[in-house]
Structures are given as C-alpha cells and as structure tokens.
Symmetry: C2
Subunit: 483 residues, 2 copies
C-alpha cells in the first residue's frame, strides 16, 4: 500500500499517503460506458453528488462501438408489441441453463426480474425501439427492434425453457451502440453529474479500516486524488486487451484475434478492485463469437473437428459456436458443405478446400482415412429421414450432403474471425457490491459491466453484457448513493 514505490493499479493507495483532495463527491464512478452512465444516473437521482472519471475524451466505452444489442425479457413492452409471450420464470430458466456450470442464480434472478422495467426506463430516456421482429439468426441488418441472440431455439435449450426472442435493439440502421450511449450520456448530464474526461484512474484509495474512500488518477500527466464520501463504482470494462492478464488468467482466449473492445478494456478496473481486496473470479471465461453465418444456408453444413467428427448442432448461436470451437476444439474446425449448400461466409473469413468426393476432401484436409466419410454417411443417413439424431439441429437445416463437388471451409482460429471479450471479473452480489474471496463486501466498493464477473461463465447470449452493465450499473449507483 506504499505511495513511495512505483505501483500498478493492483496496489491500493493508503489514505494517509494522500497529500490533498483535488475533488470531492459522494459517489465516484470509474468509467463512462453503459455501466458507468447507468450508475451515475441512478446515484444522482438518489440525491448523491456524483463524479465520473473517464479515460477517453468522452463517454461511450465499449458499448458505443457495439451493435447496442441488449438481452431483456420477462415480457417487455417490445416483446408484447411484437406478439411474443415471455415470463421472468422462463427467462430465468433459459439463462440458468445457458450460463455455464454453477450459474449465479441470485444475480440471474435479479437480472430477469428487473429486465422489463429497465426496458421501459430506456424508452423514457428516449432510446427508440421499432416494434418489429427480425426472424434472422444474426445481427439485424435493419431497424427491427427484436430478435433472437442466444440458443433459445437450439437443442437442448429449446426443451429447457419456453423460447422467446430477447435481443432488444435501438432503432437505427447498422450499429446502434453509439445511439444508445448518446441517450444515456445526455441523461447523465441532465442529472447534474460532474464528468471528467481524459482522466486515467490509477489506484483506489483505502482508509485504515480497508474502506474505499477515493481514487488516485492521472490528468494531463499530473496525479490527482478524488474523494468519494460514500463509495466508488468501478465500471471500467474487461481485460481482453491486456495481453499479460490474458496469459495469466485466460490462456485459451489468446487465439481469438479479434476483440470486441476498446483500448480501455485493459483490466485496470479489475486490478484496482483486487488491490482493495476484491476477488476476481471465473477469470478464464470469455465470450467468443465465430460468425460462420450469414448466409443462413451455411447452417446446412456440418462442423467437424480435426478428427472429422461433428461436435455441435450447426444452428447454434454464433456466440456459442465460438466458445465451443475455440475452447473445446482448440480452434481447429471445418465447415463441410456440398455444392447445394456452399457459399462463402459473409463475415467469418476462412480458407476453402474443394474436392469431387468426400474421400478426396478427407485426404485434402489431412484427416484420418474414413473419418470424415463415416461422419458424412452417418449425418446423411439421419438427414434422409429429416433427422439429426446426434445433435438435434433444427429440421429446416437438415439436408443430406450429396451433390459434388464438396467443400470444406477451414474456420480454424488462424484462418477465421473469432471475436472475444472477457467474462471474468470482480465478484459482486445482487447489490453490485464487490466481494472479497471470503464472500464479504469490500466496504465502499461497487462494480458493474465487464469489470464485474458476468452471469455468463461461459454460455454467452448476446446482449447480456450491455444488459448486465445497465441493470447492475443502476443497482450499484443506487446502492452507493444510499451507503
């Protein structure tokens, strides 16, 4: 806790080493992305004086460079307007099944319960949504407001919870994240929050009892110390852009060459929290997207690993496809197609191999003799009956592969686009309080967004990141303001 030696963010600064306070507030928020904006709005509305420190030149964070998709449900106004029924219970069932082993059910429940009301809150802030359902299984190309962004319709999840589309997208052609952040940041300003940009937070300041009482930061090359009378909320993103942290905590993610992130996702917020005693959990987990479709007809292919074996239903959501391909198959996968089903993926890249027979393709790919042929024969035998008994791909994508030439798109990690971000982070409770490894709250410290460990670990459904950021960001803001 020394102020004397050069210290990284993990080393908290002792209160007694603070020379003076350069600013004071009730609640200091680190980072102005979706989580920080929501925390700021709620803390200010609860009557707290709020100060936000943002390292970039303006608010936005990673949400601003995203598609703006948000995973909400339980019967939102948009779901109803599009003619879909949903309930908190079914949403909870789906997420509990999808979100990895030992899901954090307490936080998932809060997320589901507050989801519909939070959607209304966004509408009140002026975020526009068009009440139109997009039936595609990929990012919306237009202004439609609602789509599927997970594995709700995919085996085995479709049997575990009543499916409903839950991806809510602001009305805007193309990427809608910037629009979303524009509305949130405007509300932050309206709420009277003090925003300091180009301020890089360095370390948390803790008092003799271990309570977080402020933030040490750098502004224009000068160290400053901002006091937080009630607490600090860390909303500073994940760590996918910190190569050394990836090596130490999430080595399997190193092969994902594309990162859904900004440079701010360097793990600084997580490390600051660790320095104050917070536990960083599930740090090996990541969301990995392999956008092997569109076009949708590529779902008619079969994905095989280096043993020529199938390993997942090919109608799986892109987010899950990437997790499985990278984390369970070491990122060595091929999509096998016939002449009828072949097209090039729009986004994923990959390297195309073609041959007149499956046996020739097998040789071309260097697979063991008979391995791919056995897989295709087994798949075709089921497909002739309109079935996929092995992986239960949905009926409409199950078509025998028998029209030469045959093709294989090498979608291995070094050939295709795998886009990753981290899901591990600080342990938090349902009040977004940061917990230490004993499960006790670190006094004066909250976290939300990718600085906190996700409810998905893994088993990502798109939109839960911005969804969690907002819902737990708001909770953190209220909780800190009332501390």
């Amino acid at each position: 806790m020394s102020a004397n030696r050069a210290a990284g963010p993990t080393t908290a600064l002792a209160l007694r080493a603070v020379p003076r306070w350069d600013a004071e507030a009730d609640v200091v928020i680190v980072g102005l992305g979706a989580a920080g904006a929501c925390a700021a709005i709620e803390a200010a509305r609860a009557g707290a004086r709020v100060r936000v420190l943002e390292r970039a030149g303006g608010g936005g964070g990673t949400t601003a460079v995203s598609d703006g998709m948000m995973y909400f449900g339980g019967g939102t106004a948009l779901q109803r307007a599009c003619g879909f029924e949903d309930s908190v219970e079914e949403m909870f069932r789906y997420l509990s099944a999808a979100c990895g082993p030992e899901p954090d059910e307490a936080r998932i429940r809060v997320y589901c319960e507050q989801s519909a009301a939070h959607y209304d809150w966004l509408v009140e802030l002026g975020v526009p949504f068009k009440a139109e359902f997009y039936p595609g299984r990929m990012l919306s190309p237009g202004e439609e407001g609602l789509t599927y962004s997970g594995n709700e319709l995919v085996h085995p999840f479709r049997d575990q919870a009543v499916p409903a589309p839950r991806a809510h997208m602001p009305q805007k052609e193309g990427q809608a994240g910037a629009l979303l952040m524009q509305k949130l940041c405007a509300e932050v300003e309206r709420a009277g929050v003090e925003i300091a940009t180009n301020v890089l937070c360095e370390r948390l300041i803790v008092d003799e009892d271990g309570r977080v009482v402020g933030v040490a930061a750098t502004e224009a090359g000068v160290t400053r110390h901002d006091r937080a009378h009630r607490g600090v909320v860390l909303c500073a993103g994940g760590f996918v852009n910190n190569r050394e942290m990836i090596r130490q905590y999430a080595p399997a993610l190193r092969k994902a060459r594309f990162r859904a992130s900004t440079e701010g996702d360097d793990g600084r917020g997580i490390r600051m929290g660790m320095g104050a005693g917070g536990a960083a959990i599930r740090m090996s987990m990541g969301s990995v997207t392999l956008p092997f479709y569109p076009p949708k007809q590529l779902m008619r292919g079969i994905f095989v690993n280096r043993y020529g074996q199938r390993f997942m239903p090919e109608d799986v959501y892109q987010g899950r496809a990437g997790e499985i391909a990278l984390l369970q198959q070491e990122g060595r996968v091929w999509l096998v197609l016939d002449d009828e089903s072949f097209e090039r993926p729009v986004f994923a890249g990959g390297e195309v191999h073609a041959a007149e027979t499956i046996e020739e393709l097998e040789r071309e790919l260097g697979f063991a003799p008979g391995s791919l042929a056995a897989t295709v024969a087994l798949y075709n035998a089921g497909a002739e009956r309109g079935e996929d008994p092995l992986f239960h791909k949905a009926f409409e994508h199950v078509v025998p592969l028998r029209t030469p030439p045959f093709g294989a798109i090498d979608l291995s990690w070094d050939k295709a686009i795998y886009a990753a971000f981290t899901l591990g982070g600080l342990a938090t409770d349902t009040l977004a309080r940061v917990l230490n490894a004993d499960g006790a709250p670190v006094p004066g410290l909250w976290a939300a967004g990718r600085t906190a460990a996700s409810i998905s670990s893994p088993g990502y459904s798109s939109g839960t990141s911005i969804g969690e950021a907002q819902i737990f960001g708001r909770i953190a803001g209220r909780s800190a303001a009332n501390a």
Copy 2:
C-alpha cells in the same frame, strides 16, 4: 484491513491493530507439508530463525496421504542407475508441451534445472529409492523407484520430446508419502526449526507499506500474533475442499467426487495471500485422475463420449484421461470393449452394460442410431492394419473389437472415481515470491506447494505437485531467509 469486524482470511490485519507479538522469528512458514518442510529446512540452513505454524496435530499435509511420487528428471542418479538417459532440455520440452496453453516457461525451466540436484538432496536426507524401473503404466505396486507418470510415451508428446520415466518413488510397499514426510520433518527438527502444531493461521499482518510482517493465528481458541522479520512463506495447500471457492473459481471441478487432499486444502493460504495483494491465477484448473486402468488390457478398449465418438488415445495417462473426460466431455464417457478385452477396472468403479452386437449396445446406451457402430467400424478398420490413424494409440493396445458379447463400462462422473485437486493459486515468480496482478512482488510474501499456481495448468503429470512443492519450497525458504 480492520481488526474490528469479524474477518475471513482474505482480509489482512493491519500492523497497528496487533496488540502484542506472541512470538518472533525471521521467517514464519504457514503449513508443514512438503513445501513447508523444504522451505523450513533451507531457511534454517541459511541462518534464519524459522517458525512453522501447522493447523494439524503434526507435520505431513497432503503429501503424507499421497503415494509420494515425485516428478524429477534431467538425468537424476536414479534415472541413470535404471539405465535411462534424460536431459534438462528434454524434460523442459515435455513439460512445456504438456503443461497447458501459455506454460510458465521460466518456472518450468528452474524446475527442470534443479530437479536432479534435488533428488540427490533427498537421498542425503535419507529418503530411500530402489534403483529399479517399473514398466507398468499405473502406480507402482511394489518398491520400484522409477516409472512413467505422464504422457511421455503417448501421442502427440512422444514426438515432441525424447521420453524418459521421471516418476521417482521412495522405496516402500504401497503409499510412500508418509515415509517421505517423516524424513523431511525429521530434518526440519534437526535444523532447529520451531514447530507449532494445532495452530490455525487466520490472516496475514501487513504494515503501512503493504509489507507482510507476520501472521495472526488461533491456538486453543485464542488469537495470537507471530512476527516475521524477513517474511512469511505460505505453504498451506490448495482449495479443493472449499465448496464455495470451487463454485466461484473452478465450477467444472465440482463433479469430481473424490479429492486428493486433506481438510487443510480449504483455500485458506490462497485467500490469505490475496488479502495481502497477491493475485490468484488459473483458478479454474485442476488435476483430475480417472484411474480406468489397471488392468492394462482396458487400454485396448475405446473411450467414447455421449455422441458415440472417440475423443482420446486410450493409452493416455490416467491424469490426462480425467481432465479430458471431465473438463472437455462433461464427465459423460464410456469405455467400450469386446469379450477378449473386457475386465472390470480395479479402482475406477463404473457401471457395466453388455450386448450381443454393437447396434444393441448402442441402443442400450441410448446413443444415436449408427453412431457407435460407425465409430467401432472405423476403429476396427484401422486396427486390422495395426493402426490408430485417429488418435495414434500405441500399437500394442490396438486390437479390433469383434468378439461378442460387447461391453461398455459407464465411467461417467456420477458412476466412477474421478479424483481431483486444484492447480490454481497465487502467482509466484522463479524466486517463489508472491506477485500481485501487476506482476510486482508482494513485499515479505512467498508461496509454494498448491498454495501457488502450478506449472501445470492443466496437463498434469503425477509427481509435479510434490516436486514443485519441494523445489519451490526450498527456493522460497532461501529467498525469505536472505530477504
């Protein structure tokens, strides 16, 4: 850092809150297993006053309830006496390939370089080894000193480094861990180390600069404070027996119902280190052993997952078999055999299914029609030629499965013995200093044994745990004594 509220091990105690020192030493060591004993011996030999605090009634730790196998190489006297050549470089090559993605090459190199000399050190302490090689691929049933305990002979590792047997076992029928610890503990006493048993360490004590200066502990219900002038070495085991930590950090390990551990493996040492700023890394990793052989002839079977697909060479080391089966196949696996190869596993348990044909067995197991049949046909086609083109199982185990009745032993996680322990822990450097998440040493703090993150993460070869404990324990003792 408050002494006022009830605090768990993760909350360090501030020096100013220490009422008095109940004992003083240069180096305080937490835990008297293999790591603690080695640290104590070296610290005392370096001239330090050393005090060891052990929670149990006597020394031993998890090593004392183990088989006592130690992974050493690079040309130990025992390897040479048994007629095997080995070098530091080949050992380094094997471990770097085997120890998971992004292996910690700096620590692996130190481990390999010091391995042969450490073996001599043990012999000097009176640990007996019989210069006889045991060719079996399982725990030695007798007194032989040397065997294989990893995947040195298994594809793909056999092509990546020149294989050599590296498992060194003290000469004793059955479990040799207790004998090993008896010799180490005797030397601890001879070295003049002060040993306090039945003392449960609670928290580290840190001064205003964040330096670790002592340990708060409980003895007979009373809190005591032991000062460490030069530093504290945490050698308090792993966390496989802490259910909540497993849930938070290593959820995939929860299905391993057997734990290679003592009750001391409750994560306390790791949490104490975190409380002083140490980073806990690779916490999701574990060693998982599925002892599906002996008898050795079971390697002639084929392991299949719930899709009826093979997923590993069946001559794989038991430690790797468990990791792959539990962590990559969700613990749902069956060993398929014919009448010639069938026997019951000696240790693993499991549930036997039998049928006259493979198709019948497939139905009996609830597999998709044709799935297992295709796998067996492909395997047999290769086996007829004496080959396993898919997984490269060693020639002598490759025999077609064609003699009815056919059997499948259900070795799923809820039917069979999976024995686990944790490999994640505090980040340490080549001097066994505990590092924070910025990579900087926590002043006054060292760790060794399973309290430190293993060189294996995962990719365990049996004997590296006790090997690491000893080699890095000794380094920690010397480094702390000279601090």
